[in-house]
């Protein structure tokens, strides 16, 4: 069930009414039923996978927790009898057993993801390397498998690290894994953070209802007015790379950035807003990423929960792994403290970014995309001392105008890296980007050629209006909550804003016959 569908709107409305009509004790159960209904729309094939993943991490969580509970019981019962060493030994034994369960569960759920998502990619590459002719079997990707797998892995690891206690009610854990707003494209939630509001009872709060509704509307606005309209132009540019080179690639970088942003953040707004309507607080996933002044900041503001997941569950464990410790000490002894210190960090970064890339899709363009992001971040980190000197020497570099230049620079750098996602072919992407530097067709930006890409003048007006609203809201958000700001205004003004938003979505939205229904980009990751 796509967020952008009449059935989703009806589903949300019915679920919402039931949620506050039924006894509060049953609210979480209703959300579970709703989530399963939502997921069942994707078909039984998809349904089986989410059940298996939930069952595996549930069992692992319980088993891990049992080890720790038995350990604590044993230690507290025999506090006086055990020496410190004996206590340490008991803890180590419990940890080792817990680790076995963790490893088994991770191997299962990540194994499923790997087989489903990467079999054909691996076979294709094996074929091309050794010249074999294996048939690359391609599985149908179950909806949201990358997201709920990561969320489940996070849960198991958190129980193992004792950041959270295991959930003993399997249905409650199932709800955590399958909670419908975040199922298809994130955010990737942590059990410790989400379960508090997800599993508790909620009474109807008008303000919360209004805020949730406004957030959902905002998501629909971004998605329907801007993203689903721009995708027509973006698709035209991508599908005929030979015809659309040079200046057109610059256009693609620009419009794809806006399209992806409004599509992805719009979907996340709908997810967070829908959850908010039910009183559930879901982690934020974006913080105005296009206001970033460098790549590292950009990645702290874009798809935040994914970045945090990789940091906590990949970067950190890899950094402290025995292999990395060995590399660290070896590199320090070989290259000296200054260089040796950096090598393990960079190696870990490469691993993390390669993993991030491959998580986005089983193709080389995603791997290269990840590594290029890593490269930009490391280079800018290495340049940090030089930047510092530059800022000290030249006062103009500390002005707002210079900040703006940095923002523009970051926007374009990230944009050019992002086109790897468009062409989905690394050499072609590099050829297309290279064509910008030899381009002689800059006149297409002004001579009406833009109107031959599937969008009319009216469409461009709608996109421009949408962008002006998005930028204005983002600027306001930098100072604080826009919804709080609105809530402080007189009733007539508040209602007028909501009316305008609704009218804009209905009138200007690119939906229905004549517009292709597009799935969220992250739907099938």
């Amino acid at each position: 069930m796509s967020f952008i569908s009449y059935s989703f709107v009806a589903f949300l409305a019915v679920l919402y009414v039931l949620y506050y009509l039924l006894p509060k004790k049953t609210q979480w159960l209703l959300l579970l039923v709703g989530s399963l209904v939502f997921y069942a729309h994707a078909g039984w094939y998809s349904f089986i996978f989410i059940l298996v993943v939930a069952a595996v991490v549930y069992t692992a969580g319980i088993k891990i927790q049992d080890q720790y509970d038995a350990r604590d019981e044993e230690i507290s019962a025999n506090q006086q009898l055990f020496s410190k060493d004996e206590q340490r030994q008991i803890k180590a034994q419990a940890k080792a057993k817990a680790k076995t369960f963790l490893a088994a569960s991770l191997a299962t759920v990540l194994g499923i993801l790997a087989v489903i998502k990467y079999t054909s990619f691996v076979i294709n590459n094996v074929n091309s390397i050794i010249g074999s002719n294996f048939v690359p079997y391609r599985f149908i990707l179950p909806m949201g498998i990358s997201f709920y797998t990561f969320q489940s892995v996070g849960y198991a690891a958190d129980v193992y690290w004792e950041k959270t206690r295991a959930e003993r009610n399997p249905l409650k854990l199932m709800l955590f894994v399958s909670f419908f707003p975040q199922l298809v494209q994130g955010p990737i939630s942590r059990f410790g953070e989400l379960s508090g509001t997800l599993l508790s009872e909620h009474k109807f709060e008008p303000k919360q209802a209004a805020f949730g509704f406004q957030r959902v509307l905002w998501g629909f606005f971004k998605k329907l007015v801007v993203a689903d309209r721009l995708v027509i132009l973006v698709r035209s540019l991508i599908l005929d790379p030979a015809a659309y080179r040079g200046a057109y690639v610059v256009l693609l970088v620009f419009f794809y950035a806006i399209q992806l942003y409004s599509d992805f953040t719009g979907g996340i707004d709908i997810a967070i807003g829908a959850a908010e309507m039910f009183g559930v607080v879901v982690a934020e996933n974006f913080a105005r990423p296009f206001f970033s002044k460098n790549a590292a900041e950009y990645w702290r503001r874009w798809h935040i929960t994914m970045g945090a997941w990789f940091k906590d569950y990949v970067f950190y464990p890899v950094s402290v792994s025995k292999a990395m410790q060995r590399i660290s000490s070896k590199s320090r002894s070989t290259f000296g403290q200054k260089i040796g210190r950096r090598i393990p960090v960079y190696l870990t970064s490469i691993v993390v970014w390669a993993a991030t890339g491959i998580w986005h899709g089983a193709a080389w363009n995603f791997v290269v995309w990840g590594l290029l992001n890593c490269l930009v971040i490391i280079v800018s980190q290495e340049m940090e001392p030089a930047y510092k000197k530059f800022h000290e020497k030249y006062p103009f570099s500390n002005t707002r105008a210079y900040d703006f230049l940095q923002i523009v620079r970051t926007f374009w750098i990230m944009g050019f890296i992002r086109v790897l996602d468009c062409y989905q072919n690394v050499p072609l992407t590099f050829r297309q980007v290279a064509s910008v530097f030899t381009a002689s067709n800059w006149s297409v930006l002004f001579n009406g050629s833009l109107l031959e890409l599937g969008l009319s003048e009216a469409d461009f007006v709608a996109v421009a209006l949408g962008c002006i609203v998005m930028v204005s809201v983002s600027l306001l958000q930098e100072k604080g909550s826009v919804r709080e700001l609105l809530a402080a205004k007189p009733t007539v003004l508040r209602y007028s804003v909501v009316w305008l938003a609704l009218a804009s979505i209905i009138l200007l939205g690119a939906y229905g016959i004549g517009f292709d229904a597009n799935q969220f980009i992250y739907n099938r990751f």
């Binding site: 091309s128 390397i129 391609r138 990707l141 973006v234 490469i350 986005h360 193709a363 080389w364 989905q424």
Partner: protein
């Protein structure tokens, strides 16, 4: 020094990545909403007149120009909307076009008598055995109509008493 090492390392990874994908790029594009579509391919059985192939759903203008002057013309406007079905009659066959966004496209070719035959040598009056040997797809049928459905074209051959009574090439427009 450190920068050189880092850069060299990255260049190596990059080159390996690119080399890897140029030799065997994954076709798994499931993550994107934007997919390439294949080029349209000509159908196996199409009508040819005086060396001009009359392809279904192709733009009618150049084809009609190439096949020369018609003997008769009839046009039927759509009710309420702007469509216009046009029938051009030639010696032995009719060509019908439809309009889409102001452009005419080929909708059907109907063979009217035995003076005209398909490129496979079948004409009105040809017997069922000849039809079956000309069209391998037809050999599985027992008649009286032989429908060979292709990507854009249906080749329809109707028979009566084991001989062809009508031969039509019809565009698949839905």
């Amino acid at each position: 020094m450190i920068r050189r090492i880092v850069l060299t390392m990255f260049s190596l990874v990059l080159v390996l990545s690119i080399a890897g994908c140029s030799s065997g790029d994954s076709k798994d594009h499931s993550g994107s909403q934007i997919q390439n579509t294949g080029e349209a391919q000509a159908d196996k059985y199409e009508f040819v007149y005086k060396g001009t192939t009359i392809t279904m759903k192709a733009k009618a203008g150049p084809i009609l120009e190439a096949i020369g002057e018609h003997n008769a013309y009839y046009e039927a406007p759509s009710c309420a909307f702007e469509g216009l079905d046009k029938t051009y009659s030639y010696s032995g066959f009719d060509v019908v076009t439809y309009t889409l966004n102001g452009v005419d496209y080929i909708n059907s070719v109907v063979l009217m008598d035995d003076t005209i035959s398909t490129p496979e040598g079948i004409a009105i009056g040809s017997n069922v055995e000849a039809i079956k040997s000309a069209y391998e797809e037809a050999s599985a049928y027992s008649g009286p109509s032989y429908t060979i459905e292709q990507k854009d074209t249906i080749l329809l051959i109707l028979t009566d008493n084991a001989v062809a009574t009508s031969i039509q090439y019809i565009a698949i427009t839905e």
